[in-house]
């Protein structure tokens, strides 16, 4: 019981919660504005992680700088996907009719390609590096520098995005697109621009999350999928397209997971996550924190 109530436990929960919130944030932004359930989202995390790994191993560039590189790389990928695939799909009436289901399968294809390209290029060996792993003790809670950095950066991006959406004109336009796409266009929101910038931003955030993950965990070409599932759980709990609630849900999942595992055993982690995923979808696909959602 003592360990459950310790600050140590809370810190661990906050770190993983902030990461989940960050990964889900990108997925949620892309879903909200493009109606695109990007099942390859976790693979962007993987790309970010490998970027950081190679930058530090080959060029001795610290992850704090790789954050920018990974973000740029993933943003570029977002641009390519939007221009190369998404617009093309919308242009075909037979595909646009069922764009959500079709895009899901399409992105599953992309996910498989990314994973296996990474496995071909980097082999399936898990890799890692050490960065800021000195222990800092504060008020009896021991923290490593890299975890502290993860929490700080992830939380800053999440809350920064929420503030941006609330107070910046572009953020208003983005929220308008999420709420009512057609009406937003009528009042002069440039849908194309909002969608393009959002997909770049959403992908970039996933890349950043990948760099953060690589500082504390081993990375493999197939590490991305669990992140996709976690992000789905988070945004389904928070409500698809509901950005603020999604961040809250991310932290909640971090708490539930950390304490759930502490009470049982680490072997139950996957069952817990997938169980939540299935349970939430079955009970309320439109989200738990939302009041109502328009189709």
């Amino acid at each position: 019981m003592d360990t459950l109530l310790s600050g140590q436990m809370l810190f661990a929960a906050l770190v993983s919660g902030s990461l989940y919130a960050l990964v889900a944030l990108g997925l949620n932004l892309v879903y909200g504005t493009l109606r695109l359930l990007n099942i390859a989202h976790g693979d962007l995390v993987m790309i970010g992680a490998y970027t950081a790994f190679w930058m530090i191993s080959l060029f001795a560039v610290p992850p704090i700088i790789s954050l920018v590189v990974a973000a740029a790389l993933c943003a570029l990928l977002g641009w390519a996907v939007y221009v190369g695939l998404f617009r093309r799909m919308l242009a075909k009436p037979e595909l646009a009719k069922r764009v959500e289901a079709n895009s899901l399968i399409l992105f599953y294809g992309i996910s498989v390609i990314l994973q296996n390209l990474a496995a071909l290029a980097f082999t399936s060996t898990s890799r890692g590096y050490q960065y800021l792993d000195t222990v800092i003790t504060w008020q009896g809670v021991s923290m490593t520098g890299n975890r502290l950095l993860t929490l700080g950066i992830a939380a800053a991006i999440c809350f920064g995005t929420i503030l941006f959406l609330r107070f910046h004109l572009f953020g208003w336009g983005l929220r308008a697109v999420i709420q009512r796409r057609e009406a937003a266009q009528v009042v002069g929101v440039n849908l194309n621009r909002v969608q393009l910038l959002t997909i770049c931003g959403g992908f970039a955030v996933a890349g950043v999350a990948g760099v953060l993950v690589s500082m504390t965990e081993q990375i493999t070409p197939f590490m991305g999928f669990p992140f996709t599932i976690v992000a789905f759980v988070v945004i389904i709990i928070g409500g698809l397209g509901n950005i603020g609630a999604g961040v809250l849900a991310g932290f909640c999942l971090g708490l539930v997971e950390t304490y759930g595992i502490a009470l049982t055993s680490p072997g139950y982690r996957s069952i817990l996550i997938y169980g939540l995923f299935v349970g939430v979808l079955l009970i309320r696909p439109e989200g738990i924190f939302t009041k109502a959602v328009r189709s």
Partner: protein, 300 residues
């Protein structure tokens, strides 16, 4: 032209019949693989092609069948174990069907995926709690016998898919695909039809899982419920074309041959080709190989 699916199925059976006579075990293995993917893709199409509810979790039925079969082999003849696998998959579908089929569109797609993964992790947990790290099976039937069973399942699945499409039942499913709300309004019993289609699409994968298990004579939950199985089924069916019965056959034939060429030597390359083909077909050939051939046939 109309019955080309049936003709293809019969042709395949004839080819398969010729193989044991002068074929090598390797050839029988290839026929086994091709028939397996045809059976799986046709079963998938019974639900997903007819109703538009794309299932990305058919590996779960395959896995349930394999698991039940591995638990039963040795105690009863393998034919009965296979039947038990099929029944178990159907029962599983009947239990989860009602809640799962309430979820629509993209949510259904990810839900089926998540459900399959959940069952995979639960079985893995059970197996490791039992202290088992993979189960070996002894006294498996000869490859030739297994191949015959698989070809039989492929023919059965093809006939089943054909029968469903050309029945009143299939017309109801098509109505659900076009507009579920409208279908319900005019009196189509949508819930019941969807559930029947879901169960129908689970039966044969259950038996296929059992057979595949007997062929490898080794059970490991991570492999039996491998999401790659689901992905391959969807890719084959979509590439072949979902509008006709011959579509899944064409898709399965193409990919099974590709897999023979690449899977053992370059598995990653095989997966990349699979993904690329899927993307190209969704974007440029939404009606699949079958639609492509149909158009060529009309033009010529």
């Amino acid at each position: 032209m109309k019955n080309i699916g049936l003709i293809l199925g019969v042709a395949l059976a004839v080819v398969a019949a010729a193989v044991p006579a002068f074929g090598t075990p390797y050839m029988m293995g290839v026929v086994f693989q091709v028939a397996m993917w045809i059976a799986l893709a046709q079963s998938w199409s019974m639900l997903s092609a007819t109703t538009g509810y794309l299932s990305l979790g058919h590996a779960v039925f395959y896995g349930v069948g394999a698991y039940v079969c591995v638990l039963l082999t040795g105690t009863i003849p393998f034919e009965w174990a296979l039947l038990a696998g099929a029944v178990a998959a159907a029962v599983f579908a009947a239990i989860v069907g009602l809640p799962v089929l309430r979820v629509r569109g993209p949510y259904f797609v990810i839900l089926t995926y998540g459900l399959s993964e959940l069952v995979r992790h639960v079985v893995m947990r059970i197996e490791s709690a039992l202290g088992s790290f993979g189960r070996m099976i002894f006294d498996v039937p000869r490859t030739e016998v297994l191949m015959w069973w698989m070809v039989g399942l492929a023919v059965l699945a093809t006939l089943g898919a054909y029968a469903i499409r050309h029945s009143r039942f299939g017309a109801g499913l098509a109505a659900i695909r076009e507009d579920e709300v409208a279908a319900e309004t005019v009196g189509v019993p949508v819930t019941r039809l969807k559930l029947f289609a879901f169960i129908a699409s689970a039966i044969i994968p259950g038996a296929v899982g059992g057979l595949a298990l007997l062929r490898t004579s080794y059970f490991e939950p991570a492999q039996a419920f491998d999401p790659v199985i689901s992905f391959t089924i969807v890719t084959m069916a979509l590439v072949g074309g979902t509008e006709t019965v011959r579509g899944p056959i064409l898709g399965a034939l193409g990919f099974a041959l590709l897999s023979e060429l690449l899977w053992s030597s370059l598995p990653q390359l095989y997966m990349i080709v699979l993904g690329l083909t899927l993307i190209i077909f969704i974007l440029f050939v939404p009606r699949g190989l079958s639609g492509l051939f149909g158009r060529l046939g009309r033009a010529g």
